[in-house]
């Protein structure tokens, strides 16, 4: 604060605002204004052709009675349940693996990270080949006497396949977050536990995991939000099908808005998704805060 000691030489009252002006303009045009429109639309009817018409709570009444919203909610929940262990637990083991002091370990980190930086569209094409009816995965299943499965055309397998793609694509990111956490675990604690006769599993549970608590808070939130907003993977792999088995809230919003041009209703569903995401993030914040005390 420019307190009693007065302003720094060369700074005026308007200096910070001049610096922030472009940022504030972009914020207003690309975030604040759209956010206001989103809320306004949720209480309106709008099909792009006719003018916006205020419709009160109609969209929300419709939403509560829309079976596809419930299907999407159920799918998003299933998505989270399958996605969490794959992104919160498995990458911890990956991180422990690439935390070893071995030659060329950096190369392995890089390979595990590769899917993170490539586009969803491109990796989805690759996955179509891998999970093809005559692809590598079905060949492996065949060795065990199972399959073949049409992963993306089967009502029961499509959603797990999409989840697996998202988890595979994001695993490297979660791994690096854990790696940063692991590297700040005090090594003397691990050594002390070793001297006390703790085996590797006990050390993991009683030393490593507790000291990674802040990291878990991050991965848990990230994982839930990623799962809730899953859209691109659904769009490029299954388009919500077969029979709505991969219909997520994100995809439903998109298809209502840009296939049916039912913008008002789509915005209402968007508001629902938004609320869920904020509740999830807030819940996580609360839980992790309390543990820290």
């Amino acid at each position: 604060m420019p307190g009693l000691r007065g302003r720094v030489v060369g700074q005026h009252w308007y200096t910070p605002y001049v610096f922030m002006l472009p940022g504030l303009l972009f914020y207003a045009a690309m975030f604040a204004w759209p956010a206001v429109i989103a809320i306004q639309l949720a209480f309106s009817d709008y099909d792009i052709v006719h003018p916006v018409r205020f419709s009160g709570l109609d969209n929300f009444v419709r939403l509560a009675h829309d079976p596809r919203v419930w299907i999407a909610l159920r799918n998003s929940l299933l998505f989270v349940l399958m996605f969490l262990p794959l992104t919160v637990v498995a990458p911890l083991f990956l991180a422990m693996l690439v935390n070893l002091k071995l030659r060329a370990i950096q190369a392995f980190r890089m390979l595990y990270y590769l899917p993170v930086i490539t586009s969803m569209v491109a990796v989805a094409v690759a996955w179509r080949y891998v999970f093809n009816r005559e692809g590598v995965v079905n060949w492996v299943l065949g060795l065990f006497g199972a399959g073949p499965i049409d992963f993306l055309l089967d009502r029961h397998w499509a959603l797990p396949t999409v989840v697996l793609l998202e988890a595979w694509k994001n695993a490297g990111l979660f791994m690096m977050i854990y790696l940063a956490g692991l590297q700040s675990v005090p090594s003397d604690q691990i050594e002390a536990a070793t001297i006390d006769g703790a085996n590797a599993w006990q050390r993991l549970l009683h030393v490593v995991v507790p000291s990674l608590r802040p990291t878990f808070a991050v991965t848990l939130v990230l994982s839930m939000l990623e799962a809730m907003r899953a859209f691109e993977s659904v769009y490029v792999l299954t388009r919500g099908g077969p029979l709505d088995s991969t219909l997520t809230l994100g995809y439903y919003i998109w298809s209502k808005a840009f296939e049916d041009y039912d913008m008002g209703y789509a915005s209402a569903v968007g508001l629902l998704l938004w609320a869920i995401m904020i509740v999830l993030a807030g819940f996580n914040l609360l839980v992790t805060r309390r543990r820290d005390v």
């Binding site: 045009a29 975030f31 990270y113 586009s119």
Partner: protein
Amino acid sequence: MARRLYRRTPRISARRVGLYVLLIVVAALFIGPFLILLSAATKPASQDVFGFPPDLIPRPPVLEWFREAWTTIPYARFLVNSVLYVGITVPVYLVVSALTAYPLARIAFRGRGVFFMLFLSIMFLPGELMLIPRFLVMSELGLTDTFAAVILPAILSSLGIFLLRQAFSQIPDEIVEAARVDGANEFAIFWRICVPIVAPTLAVLAILGFVSVWNSFIWPLVVLTSQSKFPIALGIAYLSGVSGTDVRGLAAGTVISLVPVILVFLLLQKRILNSMGGAVKG
């Protein structure tokens, strides 16, 4: 597995070999799909793409599918577009983020915390939820189906402002004071002294920006209608929708789209990997 990871034994080579085998098996899971893609892209028409057991080595490897992908769709156009999107978005993104973050870190003014929270709130307005209202904003501004419409929403990110603010606030006061005594104005201090010091952070943001613009898909899909403005990711989706595209041709087109990102990644891997964990943790 955990037992292996934590015991620090002096070199038992069998254990070491076991760990490398494990590392390689896991690596195969992560890069296998890319290799299968490459295999499909280079197989001659006479060799099946699928089948049991998998026959992944092309006999002989051919390049005709790359040519096919290149000519089936205006591939060069899409690549040029993506280069333009990256080339315009990333510098503007860096300048706007730096300008915005600077006073939040180095100028004392009333409401600084509020402005910082305002910019962090971007985190809670994810792109997926902004599709509809932003589309309407773009129609209002008469910008649908333009390059500008693709670029504008990508100029501000909470991560950029967050990281740059952190970097700016770590600059020692003495350096800045010395310049101030010499009569430098605030902008000169920002541009000539502080920006060069935070160059490593800017580099990280440039890489992240490049990757996210190159891969961006949903927003261009919504806001663009003319094929001539498609970025590469949209081009691949378009190619996979073109009827009669051979699976090999689609694979080849996809491989081309991956090359720039993978090249940048290989060149700058240390910086990318180190930034990631740190960025999220910070």
